[in-house]
């Protein structure tokens, strides 16, 4: 009898030795003359348990983790392959693990369960049902359904997806495009990566539906080159979708056309900005464009273009299958549906947590993240990537909702949450925000290009105790100039983490001054 074992093929599992575990299991099985079938699934997003090995049994799956290659012999001795839970790494039914059980998984319902590139697996778990439904509808009806769901762009700007689609739908053009923004450059985020590595066919399906809705026949996924595993998995999924007639000239005999291609970026954070991304796709330097014209009207190669984040497009199959109401029933206020939060940084239990909008940041950290990895108390939490604010403990009771975050001068962004313990020097973090802007500014507008360099210099002066009061005033002034005068979010939002670091953690200035003068004396 063959034993079916699941070991993820996602980046984090591989980064923690997943491939060595696979080799060790195959070798051990061969020596013991056991018939083992290994399925490379996607991760369930409980990254602190990776590599998470799961075994199929008559009563569902049994999980073991985190498994290292050196554990494999003992696991075989304990007959883990039969689902025996006598080994200390046994975790029982993975879906009963509280971290997973407490989530509301709409977008990530299949993650970790299926073979990500298998069309059969995908269909056996509700895959392509949204597409089947969409193929029977006129484009306007699909746009209306997405509008009714309340879905807002998950890239960070939270613009209503249905309204963007309506604009493209209303344009008449010989060619329209669907562009998926998979340039997930924010530190602390990995939800797009997990979609592409754990359930890429859902993104394919979402893009086809988007094409049907607005009348576009060509899609591009603009993927960052820092994601080699996602690139591989996504390409396999697309090839399988072509082979099964879900992409190409005649989608499932409907006569509808949709072609899809992955295009690699080349390490430029700015290309996550939609107009810069379009320039890059056209083969140019990723310089930000002026708006208007909106990309929805004059986008890729001057044609009407939907540019949506991976998570926005990935939410669409659920909405078209289960209905807009089922999606809109989750959430709070104007933030409808779920957001996959990403717990990162100094946490014991980092990973992906998909929840309806509404719980507070503190609840999310307490219920899922646990304590810090270092064991030291938490001090600052950066939410929303490198352009997001650093939140002091007094703000951790803010509900996770676009408007509530905006009200405290912070951003929810793409849902990345990075926890720092008390060893952090917040003046150093502020300096890094400016330094990052120096490295990644496209250079088109002066406040961002020059302002960031001046920002690093002024922060260096503040940190070394040089005329602190005057330089803090100067930094404030510089930040205002960047906020008001920059062309895009890179320059206008870099001041957010900088200002929050100095406003809420000002005690670090004196510490930095003291350590700077101690260094000077030592010389």
């Amino acid at each position: 009898m063959s034993h079916k074992i699941f070991i993820p093929r996602d980046t984090t599992t591989l980064a923690l030795g997943g491939e060595r575990v696979v080799k060790a299991i195959l070798k051990e099985a061969q020596e013991r003359k056991l018939d083992i079938e290994i399925v490379r699934n996607g991760s369930r997003g409980m990254f602190w348990l990776e590599p998470l090995v799961e075994v199929e049994t008559a009563h569902g799956r049994v999980a073991f983790g985190p498994v290292e290659a050196r554990d494999v012999t003992a696991l075989f001795d304990a007959e883990f392959f039969k689902g025996s839970t006598s080994h200390p790494l046994a975790l029982g039914d993975p879906e009963e693990i509280p971290y997973l059980k407490k989530q509301q998984r709409l977008t990530f319902a299949r993650a970790g369960i299926t073979d990500p590139v298998s069309i059969e697996d995908y269909k056996a778990h509700d895959g392509f049902k949204g597409l089947e439904q969409s193929l029977t509808l006129p484009g306007q009806a699909i746009v209306d359904e997405v509008k009714a769901s309340g879905l807002r762009g998950r890239g960070g700007a939270a613009f209503p997806t249905g309204i963007k689609w309506q604009t493209v739908h209303n344009c008449s053009a010989d060619q329209k495009y669907i562009v998926c923004n998979a340039d997930e450059g924010d530190s602390g985020t990995f939800a797009d990566r997990l979609v592409m590595e754990a359930d890429p066919l859902m993104l394919v399906e979402g893009m086809i539906i988007s094409g049907l809705a607005v009348g576009a026949t060509q899609g591009y996924i603009y993927l960052r080159s820092e994601y080699p595993v996602a690139h591989q998995v996504m390409n396999e999924a697309i090839a399988n979708a072509y082979a099964s007639g879900y992409l190409g000239d005649d989608i499932q005999g409907s006569g509808k056309v949709f072609d899809l291609e992955v295009r690699l970026g080349a390490a430029a954070y700015i290309c996550g900005e939609e107009t810069s991304l379009l320039e890059s796709l056209e083969g140019k330097r990723g310089l930000v464009r002026f708006k208007p014209p909106l990309p929805a009207i004059e986008g890729l190669f001057g044609k009407p273009t939907v540019v949506n984040n991976v998570l926005s497009l990935a939410a669409v199959p659920f909405i078209m299958d289960k209905g807009s109401q089922a999606y809109a029933d989750c959430g709070m206020g104007r933030s409808r549906g779920t957001l996959p939060f990403q717990l990162a940084g100094n946490l014991k239990q980092g990973g992906l947590v998909e929840l309806a909008f509404g719980p507070t940041l503190r609840e999310l950290i307490d219920d899922f993240g646990g304590e810090t990895e270092s064991g030291l108390p938490m001090r600052a939490i950066q939410v929303g990537g490198p352009l997001g604010a650093y939140l002091p403990e007094s703000q951790w009771d803010t509900p996770l909702d676009y408007e509530a975050f905006s009200a405290i001068g912070a951003v929810l962004g793409h849902g990345g949450i990075v926890v720092f313990d008390e060893s952090v020097d917040m003046t150093e973090q502020a300096r890094f925000s400016m330094e990052f802007c120096v490295a990644e500014s496209c250079g088109k507008c002066t406040p961002c290009r020059i302002g960031s360099t001046r920002g690093v210099e002024v922060i260096d002066k503040i940190r070394s105790g040089n005329n602190v009061e005057a330089n803090l005033a100067l930094l404030d002034d510089l930040c205002e100039t960047m906020i008001d005068g920059s062309l895009c979010a890179m320059g206008s939002m870099t001041p957010i983490p900088v200002k929050s670091a100095f406003q809420y953690f000002s005690e670090d200035i004196a510490l930095a001054n003291a350590s700077s003068s101690a260094q000077a004396e030592a010389k």
Partner: protein
């Protein structure tokens, strides 16, 4: 230096010809050349410019805009260290200085024996399990200075065995 880095105009011409029909072909062409040769030889710039009917300045401008593309041959192993916030929160600043000291080079440089090229990277998406580095196409998490030293030994020892 590895064989990969030898200048081969015919190979470059073949890559250009196979991709130039694509809309927005420049990035795919640059990736194609760098994947094959490890870098984009300056002599390939006029060839690309001719094929795409653009100026050499335009092609050069695109190559230098993106951190990923390089105009000089890399060392045998390309090493990237994540500098972004989630890794910082898990000790990457300490790792960064250790890596530079161990290899004796700063970012954007190659060791004298041409074994390692060191580049910074802003996020590899392994943010729950950092600090993270990338060795060619392999991403490795929870790297400590001690694990880094073992890895360097492993990488350089294997090379000797192959030779």
């Amino acid at each position: 230096m590895s064989d990969k880095a030898k200048w081969d105009p015919q190979a470059v011409q073949g890559i250009i010809a196979s991709l130039q029909h694509k809309p927005g072909a420049l990035l795919p062409i640059l990736h194609g050349i760098q994947n094959a040769l490890g870098y984009i030889p300056p002599d390939s710039v006029p060839m690309i410019a001719d094929a795409l009917q653009q100026t050499r300045a335009e092609i050069h401008g695109v190559i230098t805009f993106y951190h990923h593309f390089r105009l000089t041959p890399p060392g045998r192993i390309k090493l990237e260290v994540c500098r972004a916030e989630a890794c910082q929160a898990r000790g990457s600043r300490n790792l960064e200085s250790h890596v530079k000291e161990k290899l004796g080079i700063d970012y954007h440089h190659t060791t004298l024996d041409r074994e390692f090229s060191l580049e910074p990277v802003y996020c590899l998406g392994n943010c729950a399990c950092g600090p993270t580095i990338r060795v060619d196409d392999d991403i490795i998490g929870r790297i400590t200075p001690e694990k880094f030293d073992l890895l360097v030994d492993e990488l350089t020892t294997t090379a000797l065995e192959i030779r």
